[in-house]
Homo-oligomer: 362 residues x 2
DNA sequence: TGATCATGCAGAAACGTGACTGTCAACGCG
DNA sequence: CGCGTTGACAGTCACGTTTCTGCATGATCA
């Protein structure tokens, strides 16, 4: 009886099922499943035969059925917190793009695929995709999506230290305090007397930690803080804030910009005010963009190593999914890298155009 | 009997099934399914009651079971052809990033989610995810992944005209010939006598169509072609090729760069040779990056409108998935936009820094 | 008043796979 | 020669939905 049904289904065009393979190979579906998955105890001859028949029929196991049966989908969510009405700022900064690329690669290398899901997307989309776990980039405090996912028992790993008591499974981040302090010391070493800070307002911890570190440094060295903050989701506000910072009566002679576009904006503002870089103004900004190697002059940047972050986040998440080293709370810190260029070196006033850099390995 | 089993399963922590909702609401699972999906014929009272109970239990339908039953997963693949050993060049150019962002937004607006899948990824990953259809960016001729997907009966829509007889369901692209001809005319109008072309070597149709259009234009106006090609996947090769182009004995007095980084590379090369832009060299490049608005001087760019492309591709694909207007072969052409800046205007030699541009709507 | 019909819901069959249990033959050993 | 053991498979259930079919109940109509 079940044989008759099998042949009836097999007549459906397009897809061959495991039953069709079993019938064509003259074995049971159990044998087919065991042969293809490397389980059970079968002689190699049978195993090879089944594989061959499966290949000939172009058999592809149904991902949905396998997911339903095993409870594992092989899918990882990649969530970006959104600002404003644009569904997400996915590629506003090169950081996100690089990080997403590395995360995708790392996931694929371990047999997982990435699904892009904005945090504020429609609820039906979230519940329509079976996820094994989720990566959350820069979660804001009390993120409802994170809570919901954790409540469902899914592992959640965040890129960026979670704010408050956000119940993530693990997190990966840079040591932002150390990075800011290092940059400020670097600028002071280059001769800066009054260092300003350009920063966006965000709800994650990056801005908060960096600003706090800046204020602490100012207090330590006895400098009055000089900083401008602007809504990070507004693409124009950054340029305006850069202008405002250089127009202040207590104009800084060095500026660190916390966000990617700040370097370009500050450079343009400096030109408007006739300030030479680095002679009149030292410049550093946090960016992953390679354009700062070719600007006039080249601008010193802080790299947060998004590729290493993306890779680490995915590995930690997959480890959690597969139950590896789940005993220790995972909080991984990735070092930053300061790429020193002309804009922050007052000692070497030559404005040589640096040769094209070869891509870094990480 | 089945009741007893239901309660036994319901004791499992973490997830409430449809049976638990049915038991708690005192109805059958059919009624629950119909009430939540808006089907069947139920009085509003029952519908509300079931929804309320489901909410109270935190019921989330299993995506895997739904996919298995309905045959629709709500997932769309986003495939990027890869070069070299890096899994994919996803964000090499701002084009991909913008396009992917728009595609994700458009998909989410229609209830679908995007899965990023490189074309050359491990076969097990491809077969492990249930896709309703796929978007392929710049497929090369005889792409094996495309053939396999089409053979499975999945709709495949490509961004970029498919080469040869690649059997895609539909495609969306710009009119690259018209764009190149327009730029060459624009440069000639600005006074260019010998226009060069800087181009990468790729296996998709973009490079081929653009180069062909350039050669035809040269033939028409009686100019000897002056162009340099370099392997597009090598991040250094572009700068070297730009240098080579300006070092030629028949140095062009205007250059169009087909790829995003060409503008920066050409500008750096021009500085090395002491060429002033636009006085000695007119420059245009194809890019979506906003940095070209702030370079010194600002560079004229051709925008391929990746947001509109990404949106269109997804809409065409989802229409095909849902069986809408499947009768007509869909080949959609998106217009390009030339953003004229200082680098291509010899008449206005002032090098004003342009004010920050507001974001475009598309 | 009996036949027809819309309404409100329950039962059960799939969807395609993985895993557990069971069967039958061959074989080694006392 | 009988018995336990092991290899090589087949049968069958369950994963959690959706959906088709079907059975009651009350209302409507000739």
């Amino acid at each position: 009886m079940s044989r008759a049904e099998t042949s009836r289904r097999g007549s459906r065009p397009g897809r061959a099922g495991i039953r069709d393979v079993a019938a064509a190979a003259g074995v049971s579906i159990t044998t087919v499943s065991d042969a293809l998955n490397g389980k059970g105890r079968l002689p190699d001859a049978t195993r090879r035969h089944v594989r061959e028949v499966a290949d000939r029929l172009g058999y592809r196991p149904s991902a949905a059925a396998r997911t339903l049966r095993t409870g594992k989908s092989g899918l990882i969510g990649l969530t970006v917190t959104t600002y404003g009405d644009e569904p997400f700022t996915f590629t506003e900064f090169a950081y996100f793009a690089e990080m997403a690329r590395a995360a995708t690669s790392a996931a694929l290398a371990r047999g997982y695929a990435l699904v892009i899901l904005p945090a504020t997307s429609r609820h039906d989309v979230w519940s329509n995709v079976a996820l094994d776990g989720t990566v959350v980039i820069d979660p804001s405090d009390h993120d409802p999506v994170v809570s919901e996912l954790v409540r469902q028992g899914l592992p959640v790993v965040s890129d960026g230290r979670p704010a408050g008591s956000l119940p993530v499974t693990a997190w990966v981040d840079n040591d932002h305090e150390a990075a800011v302090l290092g940059i400020l010391d670097h600028l002071a070493d280059a001769g800066a007397r009054r260092i300003g800070l350009l920063t966006g307002t965000t709800t994650d911890t990056y801005t908060h930690l960096s600003t706090t570190a800046y204020l602490r440094w100012c207090e330590r060295v006895g400098q009055d803080p000089v900083y401008e903050a602007y809504p990070a989701h507004d693409p124009c506000a950054g340029a305006v804030a850069a202008d405002r910072l250089l127009a202040r009566p207590d104009r800084p002679d060095a500026v660190y910009g916390l966000f990617d576009p700040n370097g370009t904006d500050l450079l343009a503002a400096a030109r408007r005010y006739g300030l030479r870089v680095p002679e009149d103004l030292l410049l550093v900004c946090c960016s992953e963009s390679t354009v700062y190697a070719s600007t006039e002059p080249p601008i010193t940047t802080l790299s947060l190593k998004p590729r290493r972050i993306g890779t680490a986040v995915v590995h930690v998440l997959i480890d959690a999914i597969e139950g590896l080293h789940s005993d220790q709370p995972v909080e991984q810190v990735i070092p930053t890298e300061l790429i020193v260029r002309t804009s922050s070196q007052r000692r070497s006033p030559r404005t040589t155009v640096s040769p094209p850099r070869s891509p870094e390995s990480d």
